[in-house]
């Protein structure tokens, strides 16, 4: 039977990997990931050298000229920073024949105002530089007009420093932190959610395919239902691991290609630094372990339930009806996870995190935010292990009954009848 299990896994996995659709979709994925991770470089590569050259005319009606400051700030505050800019300190009338020419005029009336004139839209990077420079000049000019120091202006215009005190002492109730965790949770959930959807759909369709073609009698007369069921779950999960591994590899290739341009990962590094500062990455290793363990167990539960349900279907119509409750359950979990930050780690979220079908979507974010300790996580893992054992113990006899049931009753009637029969 061990050899048959191995054969069934190899056969099922081989069929998926050797499919043309798998190869084509992976080539497309690799190309897409390479494009997305290097999008700005690709766009830049389409720009001609002429596009990267600008002439900026500057005129200011201020007590001080500020031309040197303007030039310095524009040059140093560009995003990307590879534009070739010529600065000229004089008035210029922009015409419709002009190409990459910009005229910046700063005037001093009731307030310091600025005007930026060009024939066409200019580079976003250049505009952001001009914007920064104009604002810096305005701050300094205004300070001098009012006779106050730069430091005083900075005091007026800088962000207010807020010391956050929570009397309940709940460390998890930091609003900014929670909103970051919310975003992080959604980011974490997406791949797992779609991973489970992909896995259970494949399991369901494989079983349905064998049943609807009536091959099941021949197969089940050769291998035990347990072996058949395990082979489906293992093969499909191995396929999913291979597919996700490939996607990760494509991502690394994309980052690798980007790093050759020496601009890779700066945003990610900054984000990582922010998360680290907030202490959210302190338990990253433990969080990773919990997520992987909970994902594996949740995936097993969904896989077992899906196998049980799909074994009842004789026709595509049956299949769609019978998997609907499972899909709805997954969607509930998904939306609960998205809205979990709004639930403010309340009782609802805490309870949902302990329900096996939803644990994966909710428990990790509660752990990251500090609402759950490792003890809570261990309890959740134990509940999940118990659920896997229950669904296997309960589901296998039902599966055995259902895969060979070709009666014409309604699909849910068939399911409940097989549950009843399997309990004898």
């Amino acid at each position: 039977m061990k050899n048959k299990l191995k054969f069934l896994i190899d056969f099922s996995l081989g069929r998926k990997i050797k499919k043309k659709s798998f190869i084509i979709s992976n080539i497309i994925l690799l190309v897409l990931i390479l494009i997305v991770s290097n999008l700005d470089i690709i766009i830049d590569s389409f720009k001609s050298e002429e596009d990267k050259s600008y002439t900026v005319y500057y005129q200011a009606d201020l007590a001080e000229d500020y031309f040197a400051s303007f030039e310095y700030i524009v040059e140093n505050s560009q995003l990307g920073g590879d534009l070739n800019i010529t600065f000229i300190n004089e008035h210029y009338e922009v015409t419709t024949d002009d190409g990459n020419v910009v005229f910046v005029e700063i005037t001093n009336g009731d307030n310091v105002n600025a005007k930026v004139v060009s024939n066409e839209l200019i580079s976003t990077s250049l505009y952001s530089g001009i914007y920064s420079a104009v604002n810096a000049i305005k701050t300094d000019a205004t300070a001098k007009q009012l006779g106050i120091s730069q430091e005083d202006v900075a005091k007026i215009t800088s962000d207010t420093s807020i010391e956050r005190i929570v009397l309940s002492g709940d460390e998890g109730d930091n609003e900014i932190q929670n909103s970051i965790i919310g975003g992080l949770s959604v980011l974490l959930i997406f791949p797992f959610f779609f991973g489970i959807i992909m896995v259970i759909q494949m399991i369901g369709l494989e079983i349905f395919d064998e049943k609807s073609t009536r091959s099941m009698e021949v197969i089940m007369s050769s291998v035990k239902p347990k072996v058949h069921l395990l082979s489906k779950i293992v093969a499909v999960n191995m396929f999913a691991i291979i597919q996700f591994g490939l996607i990760a590899l494509y991502g690394l290739i994309g980052v690798g290609v980007r790093s050759l341009t020496n601009t890779a990962g700066s945003t990610f590094s900054e984000m990582g630094l922010d998360l680290k500062t907030m202490g959210l990455l302190d338990n990253i290793g433990l969080v990773g372990v919990f997520i992987v363990v909970i994902f594996i167990l949740t995936n097993l539960i969904y896989s077992l339930v899906m196998a049980l349900l799909s074994s009842t279907a004789n026709e595509m119509d049956d299949y769609q009806k019978i998997i609907a409750p499972l899909m709805i359950t997954m969607l509930i979990g998904f939306y609960t996870a998205i809205f979990a930050p709004l639930l403010e780690a309340g009782t609802f979220a805490r309870v949902m995190a302990h329900i096996p079908f939803f644990s994966l979507m909710i428990a990790p974010s509660l752990f990251i935010s500090g609402t759950f300790t490792w003890v809570n996580m261990v309890i959740i893992i134990l509940i999940l292990i118990g659920s896997v054992i229950f669904f296997y113990w309960f589901g296998l006899p039902v599966y055995k009954q259902s895969v060979l049931d070709y009666s014409s009753d309604k699909v849910f009637k068939r399911l409940f009848r097989n549950i009843k029969r399997s309990q004898r």
Binding site: K4, T213, E217
Partner: protein, 299 residues
């Protein structure tokens, strides 16, 4: 030897098979007959170990049948049971591997059987691209590729033309000569009569007739007389012991209650002109089946 010993199977309140018993020995072809819903498929499933009987036991070589014997059993189901997206080679490899064969043995068997069934060109074609008849050939090959010792053939001639029926017959008889136990089910009584030495007829899960066909025929009183010549059908019908008279193209068939009444018919025929044939025959299996099953249903 396969021994089905008093097996019963319930589906809720319905008794699908009721205390069924029979034995099949090596080199025997056994007919399992019955109308649709008589319990044949349930019986097959119990032999295949897909279901456990609620009562009784199925023995194979004096051991309770189980997954340990699955590699020695081949099954051709009445329904098409092929994975239509696979190629012929993949399908046969799949079923061969499930029966414990190694790749080398499978490849060798595939070469042999595809050649024997004249379908070598279809080796890498998808099942769904094949004709009905060729799909049936692949299904048949899936059941015998591993050289089983016990084969269950449920309506094996479905979708076959007369030439391929002959090819199948040849292979089935070859399997029999190799000492395989063959269980055969068909609604075509002439096929059953041609192959089987022994049979059981099921009605509503119960065995109503079981034994060797020759003994069953002998024990069935009704006989048929075939006459060629100028006979008057209305006169024949008046003869004592005559149940019915059927008119065929060039002869008449007189059904009599038992062979004791043959002499009455002969007495009449001898008086008629142009008699070239007077032949008393045992009833066909089809007649026995219709008579027994019809009577049981009426009861």
């Amino acid at each position: 030897m396969l021994r089905v010993d008093g097996v019963s199977k319930y589906y809720g309140e319905l008794k699908a098979v009721d205390k069924l018993s029979f034995e099949v020995h090596e080199g025997e072809i056994f007919g399992l007959l019955g109308l649709n819903g008589a319990g044949k498929t349930t019986t097959f499933r119990m032999i295949l170990n897909l279901f456990s009987p609620d009562e009784g036991t199925v023995f194979y070589n004096d051991e309770i049948i189980g997954y340990d014997h699955s590699d020695e059993i081949g099954f051709l189901s009445e329904e098409r049971s092929l994975l239509v997206k696979l190629t012929v080679y993949e399908q046969l490899t799949y079923y061969g591997s499930l029966k414990g064969m190694n790749k080398r043995a499978i490849d060798k068997a595939i070469e042999y059987w595809l050649q024997r069934f004249n379908i070598t060109d279809y080796k890498h074609k998808k099942i769904k691209e094949l004709s009905k008849g060729n799909q049936q050939k692949i299904q048949f090959l899936s059941a015998i590729i591993h050289n089983p010792k016990l084969i269950i053939l449920d309506e094996p001639f479905n979708g076959l033309d007369p030439i391929n029926v002959e090819l199948f017959k040849e292979v089935i008889l070859e399997c029999k000569s190799k000492g395989m136990i063959i269980i055969f089910s068909s609604h075509r009584m002439e096929h059953v009569e041609m192959f089987c030495e022994k049979l059981v007829i099921l009605v509503k899960g119960k065995s109503i007739l079981y034994g060797y066909i020759k003994d069953i025929k002998k024990s069935f009183n009704q006989q048929n007389i075939f006459i060629k010549g100028d006979v008057d059908i209305s006169e024949l019908k008046k003869i004592d012991g005559v149940i019915d008279v059927l008119e065929h193209t060039d002869q008449v068939e007189v059904k009599i209650e038992s062979k004791d009444y043959a002499k009455n018919v002969f007495k009449y025929a001898s008086k008629c002109d142009g008699i070239t044939l007077f032949d008393v025959k045992l009833p066909s299996l089809n007649e026995i089946f219709v008579d027994k099953v019809g009577r049981t249903y009426e009861e």
